[in-house]
Assembly symmetry: C2
Homo-oligomer: 180 residues x 2
């Protein structure tokens, strides 16, 4: 993984890919799969939808940190599988043959096989809506991954894979942040 | 447009498409383009990122309603254009040759040329994070649109168009709501 400026991190998530969120409880790493999330500003602040029904939630609330990892479509079955097993019973990194890498600002691990990772601090929980508010601190990209396409949950058991990329930088003009 | 059960509406947005949001101030329709949004539950409750810097925001706060319309990729230049002009100066439906259709529960219009629409009530504004919280009330789909692919803003002036669809209903099993 190559570290890039945190100002780039909002582009990792704005398009709505399914994400993996890692935590470390002091003894063990865990991973959960999330498809309900949003970028809230360019810094970036990120909202993810979770709550006490997820094992990882309690750890996030205690440790105040996590890593968001964006898997390529080659990991789609792992991402679905990660969402269906309990991390208190199995080691998900082991079960899904994923490699935890040390992050710089948090103890939760990056995932080597993912395309992009964001080290995050938990800064708030909006209880009324089940939103964990994260602040992205460090951003990483995997330049060597051959499969760069992400995938988007439709919510009905089907997933949309990234297709064609269209370029509208000129038309977007001053609506884009200067650094992207 | 064909009305479908509101329980389907979360699938319109979960994948993270760029959306158009319409409002009606009592005299005039308006449209804004939004790429930062998220589904928060299946009902659906939806968060969109906006605030006083958008003309439509004030109208949404006053009328407590809007329509979310999901454009196909054939409308990408219109969606970008809608995000760069001021609705207090121009009639965006007129300028972008879009057709407002009467909704059932709100005065904000559906957009005939879009793939899907959700009539929404504004139920809250989380000021701290600039999130308007919407409750989807009625859902519509456009069955006759030939171009069904949506598009996702990356945030750097490029857009990802929906590619292949992958099917994992069986693997998702009881993680899916029963009605999708």
């Amino acid at each position: 993984m190559k570290e890039v400026d945190i100002g780039q991190a909002f582009t990792f998530l704005e398009s709505g890919p399914v994400i993996l969120v890692t935590t470390f409880d002091g003894k063990k790493n865990n991973i959960m799969t999330i498809s309900w999330h949003m970028i809230m500003d360019f810094s970036p602040h990120i909202a993810i939808s979770t709550g006490p029904w997820n094992t990882s939630f309690e750890v996030m609330m205690k440790t105040k940190e996590c890593v968001i990892a964006v898997p390529g479509v080659n990991l789609i079955e792992d991402a679905i599988g990660i969402g269906t097993v309990n991390g208190t019973i199995v080691d998900k990194f082991d079960k899904f043959s994923l490699t935890p890498l040390a992050a710089k600002t948090v103890k939760a691990p990056l995932i080597e096989e993912c395309l992009k990772c964001i080290e995050c601090r938990v800064i708030d929980y909006v209880d009324k809506y089940g939103l964990v508010i994260l602040s992205g601190e460090k951003a990483w990209i995997n330049e060597t991954a051959i499969e760069q396409r992400t995938f988007h949950a439709v919510g009905n058991g089907t997933f949309l894979v990234d297709g064609e990329t269209l370029e509208y930088k000129t038309m977007m003009g001053n609506r884009l942040p200067k650094w992207v």
